[in-house]
């Protein structure tokens, strides 16, 4: 297995979001014993609800999982938790030990050691039929909602939305489930909840219809569809590479439940392309890759299939890193919004739209605004530290980079002199 193991890669193997969550909770050396690993094998015993501990082995070459627990999920949470601890590299999983007898992969019960194209095709077909059935249910749910009206839907208890989200998770559609939960939270938080909800419903319905016609779609559209449904790409599916001098223009971190995720926005000097890197770490652990805001990385990225701005990975190991000088591609508000419209035309599900804005004046107030030289005003997202923005700008027009989400700007960095400062 050539590519490096990461938390995100382990979690991508999870059959559903529940397993991933359970595995993160279980990735604690205290409940484990006899942990060890070689270059191709990781093993350990986990004390579960049964009297004797479960014996868990993972063969990294496939990867194939073996566990004595009675779970029907595959891989089970024990196997995932074992890999999470091993990936963390904090010494809890001893390296280089001889595997215990029970851990030797003499007779893997559940999975053959060699890749089996037939089995892979069967698993893929199973997943697709599960998703199709889930989307069919979701469509009926949407129809019911529209028949009864949005005003009725708004009066529904939280359980109404949670149940729908949970059924999407069961159907391996975690991306849609996240959007359903987010909308439920917005219903009482936004004054414009009705148009917002209607727009979201339209987007979900578009995903259902696009899924049915996925065979006719091009690779980029399928990539965007998979992203909105929450079916992540594996690393070996990543598409084309492009070399450039990549300016690190914005970092945003989020911590939910037990996962820390970071988005790193890059701007390519030669291609003018904007890409985003996603990194994950289990809660309480530091991210492996920390790109320095304002630096310039000379190197190659591999882009996931999809329309722009595309998700990408930095490839290769040796990158030359230099200091940058701010936001090279900042424009006024009209040009930035025109670019946003072009991106939306390519990917109707795009939620986070990167905007690089030049000459913005901070106007504190309720709500606080960023105003360009022509008076075009963007509303800053609730929770933005407007005082810090104001302190950094000193009332002068400044260049700001941020994520544009549902007509609110979440600023990530601001240019002070020729330096980028994180917000």
């Amino acid at each position: 297995m050539g590519s490096r193991w990461t938390v995100a890669r382990v979690l991508a193997l999870a059959p559903d979001a529940g397993s991933a969550k359970a595995a993160r909770a279980l990735a604690n050396p205290r409940t484990w014993s006899d942990l060890g690993s070689t270059s191709s094998l990781v093993w350990g015993k986990c004390q579960g609800s049964a009297r004797s501990p479960y014996q868990v082995t993972v063969d990294l070459t496939e990867p194939s999982f073996r566990c004595t627990c009675p779970s029907r999920k595959f891989p089970c949470k024990h196997g995932l938790a074992l890999l999470l601890m091993w990936v963390a590299g904090d010494g809890s999983v001893t390296a280089g030990a001889a595997p215990a007898e029970w851990a030797t992969p003499a007779a893997p019960r559940t999975e053959p050691a060699r890749p089996d194209p037939e089995a892979q095709a069967r698993r893929l077909a199973e997943r697709e039929s599960l998703m199709s059935a889930g989307l069919g249910d979701f469509e009926l749910w949407l129809h019911d909602l529209v028949r009864q009206g949005l005003a009725t839907a708004r009066r529904q208890p939280a359980g109404f939305w949670d149940t729908a989200a949970a059924r999407l998770v069961d159907a391996q559609l975690p991306g849609l489930a996240d959007r359903v939960r987010a909308v439920a939270a917005d219903l009482h938080a936004r004054a414009d909840w009705a148009p917002h909800l209607l727009g979201e419903l339209g987007g979900w319905y578009l995903a259902i219809r696009a899924w049915r016609r996925r065979a006719e779609l091009d690779e980029a559209a399928v990539g965007d569809l998979r992203a909105v449904l929450g079916w992540p790409r594996r690393r070996d599916e990543i598409g084309d590479r492009v070399a450039d001098r990549w300016w690190v223009v914005g970092l945003s971190q989020e911590e939910d439940d037990r996962l820390l995720s970071q988005r790193t926005w890059l701007h390519g000097e030669r291609t003018g392309e904007t890409v985003v890197l996603l990194d994950f770490a289990a809660a309480g652990q530091a991210l492996k890759v920390a790109h320095v805001l304002g630096s310039v990385v000379d190197g190659e990225v591999a882009r996931y299939p999809g329309a722009g701005p595309r998700r990408a990975l930095l490839t290769g190991d040796e990158h030359q890193v230099m200091a940058g000088s701010g936001l090279p591609h900042a424009t006024g508000v009209p040009d930035a919004l025109a670019q946003a419209a072009r991106w939306l035309a390519g990917n109707p599900w795009l939620r986070r739209i990167p905007l690089a804005l030049a000459g913005m004046t901070v106007v504190p107030g309720e709500p606080p605004l960023l105003v360009d030289s022509g008076g075009a005003a963007l509303t800053l997202a609730p929770g933005t530290d407007v005082w810090q923005l104001l302190a950094l700008s000193g009332g002068h027009p400044v260049a700001v980079f941020g994520e544009w989400i549902d007509e609110r700007l979440h600023p990530l960095s601001v240019q002070v002199g020729d330096r980028l400062v994180a917000l």
């Binding site: 129809h143 529209v146 005003a151 209607l198 339209g202 919004l337 946003a340 810090q388 000193g394």
Partner: protein, 469 residues
């Protein structure tokens, strides 16, 4: 009604109550989509129309007038390490049992002395700090610079740090609330004390008594002989609070006419033997000068009047050689006079005669530490003096002090003066503190905790000093 409003209306009440078809719904491109039911039609139209709406969104135009930007700050920014320390202090990531604020204050003092500014991004946190730590406001205001005072002008909670443009001072003083006027006056006293006094004099006759007394209190900042005529007039004020405030301020001006009158009264009480007679009932002139009402704790009426007269008399009237055979009342009067007049010679002489926390606190750090290093007993009395001593303390005094405290196992002094030790010990004493900590056996847990706190403070203060050369 637009196509979108029509669609939204249908969606709100539901297709169960209002029919909907894609044909003729007015959404561009809808005629190329098929939908098998009214629900599917609404959803498909929503998908199309929402796409147009998102891509075609145009920003509103702001028609306000932006404020004038902040003035340039010519000071260089502090080092990244110094900035990081300040950030940790303000974010309470560095904590100190004796009070994190003393380290923050130390940082600000060092920054002010070296003429470097904090990074702009920390200005909001600094203003929040000054809003709660009112004692540090003056220091914060001096360090935040033009950008900080500009920023403070945007947030009412930070108005204490905002500067009022010179041209607006008189207008605001005329129209502001009482608190605003006092803040304005206090600021102006720092830079233009005469102009501030003139503002007070302009409206003096029309102000209520409580405001007149509060104005006089503000004049304590930047007090000088130029303020004397106003204060002298205020001694005839209708209100007792105003008269008392004026008398209290005049005690700080040994060159004033009142001080001269007091000297006359004191000389008349001075006997040939060098002792003082107790004054009788005050006459009208003495009452005008504020003598009479106040009673010193534990002293009789006559003794209190003597103390009051001596406290208000210029010390140049006497000779420090008289201290050794003066009685307790006289020493107390002179002590008050020395503290109010800030007379280092008298403060030193009185402290050599019998040190008190008040005297020690009014001395310069060098003289105070010199006096303290001569102390024979490291008892709780010494602890109280040490706690009052101003800083910074010299390196040699600091190291020797820690050594002596350790040898004497003076844990009571350690407890009493923990904050002063953390704040004023020279970083050179860090090794001595750590050695003491190592030598402590079990059973001295409170002392060990205090020492660890002091060592922690010294480490951070050493870094701060290093970063502000």
């Amino acid at each position: 009604m637009t196509a979108w409003e029509d669609l939204l209306g249908t969606a709100l009440v539901g297709t169960g109550r209002r029919p909907f078809t894609l044909a003729g719904c007015g959404v561009a491109g809808a005629d190329r989509v098929t939908a098998g039911s009214p629900e599917a039609a609404v959803l498909a139209a929503a998908a199309l129309a929402a796409g147009y709406r998102r891509a075609g969104w145009t920003p509103p135009t702001w028609r306000g007038t932006p404020r004038q930007p902040a003035d340039r700050d010519e000071r260089p920014e502090c080092s990244p390490v110094a900035a990081q320390i300040l950030e940790l202090l303000l974010g309470r990531s560095i904590r100190l049992e004796a009070g994190t604020d003393l380290l923050t204050t130390g940082w600000l003092t060092a920054a002010r002395a070296s003429g470097r500014r904090p990074p702009y991004r920390l200005l909001p946190e600094l203003l929040r700090f000054g809003t709660t730590a009112t004692g540090a406001r003056r220091l914060v205001k001096q360090v935040i610079g033009p950008r900080g005072t500009w920023l403070a002008g945007h947030q009412p909670a930070w108005s204490w740090a905002a500067t009022v443009p010179r041209a607006e001072v008189a207008g605001r003083f005329a129209t502001g609330t009482r608190a605003e006027r006092l803040a304005l006056l206090s600021d102006l006293r720092e830079t233009e004390p005469d102009r501030a006094r003139e503002l007070v004099e302009d409206t003096w006759a029309a102000e209520p008594a409580a405001t007149r007394a509060a104005f006089l209190d503000v004049l304590r900042t930047g007090l000088s002989d130029a303020d004397e005529p106003l204060l002298e007039r205020a001694l005839d004020d209708r209100a007792g609070t105003v008269r008392a405030a004026a008398a209290a301020l005049l005690e700080h001006l040994p060159g004033s006419a009142r001080a001269h009158r007091m000297a006359g009264r004191a000389r008349r009480l001075h006997t040939a033997a060098g002792t003082f007679e107790l004054p009788g009932e005050p006459d009208e002139a003495a009452r005008r000068d504020g003598i009479g009402g106040h009673r010193e704790p534990g002293r009789g009426r006559a003794a209190s009047r003597l103390i009051q007269i001596l406290a208000a008399t210029p010390l140049s009237t006497w000779d420090t050689s008289e201290i050794s055979h003066a009685d307790a009342d006289v020493v107390l009067g002179w002590t008050k006079a020395a503290v109010r007049q800030g007379d280092q010679e008298w403060l030193t002489a009185l402290a050599r005669h019998e040190p008190t926390p008040d005297l020690i606190a009014a001395l310069t750090p060098d003289i105070a530490t010199d006096l303290l290093s001569g102390a024979r007993k490291l008892d709780t009395r010494f602890g109280a003096l040490l706690a009052a001593a101003p800083g910074p303390w010299p390196a040699r005094f600091s190291t020797e002090l820690v050594g002596r405290l350790r040898d004497a196992k003076a844990e009571a002094v350690l407890r009493l003066a923990a904050r002063a030790l953390a704040e004023h010990l020279h970083p050179a004493a860090l090794a001595a503190v750590e050695n003491w900590l190592l030598a402590l056996g079990t059973g001295s847990a409170p002392a060990a905790r205090t020492l660890r706190g002091i060592a922690h403070a010294l480490t951070i203060r050493a870094t701060i000093l290093q970063e502000f050369p």
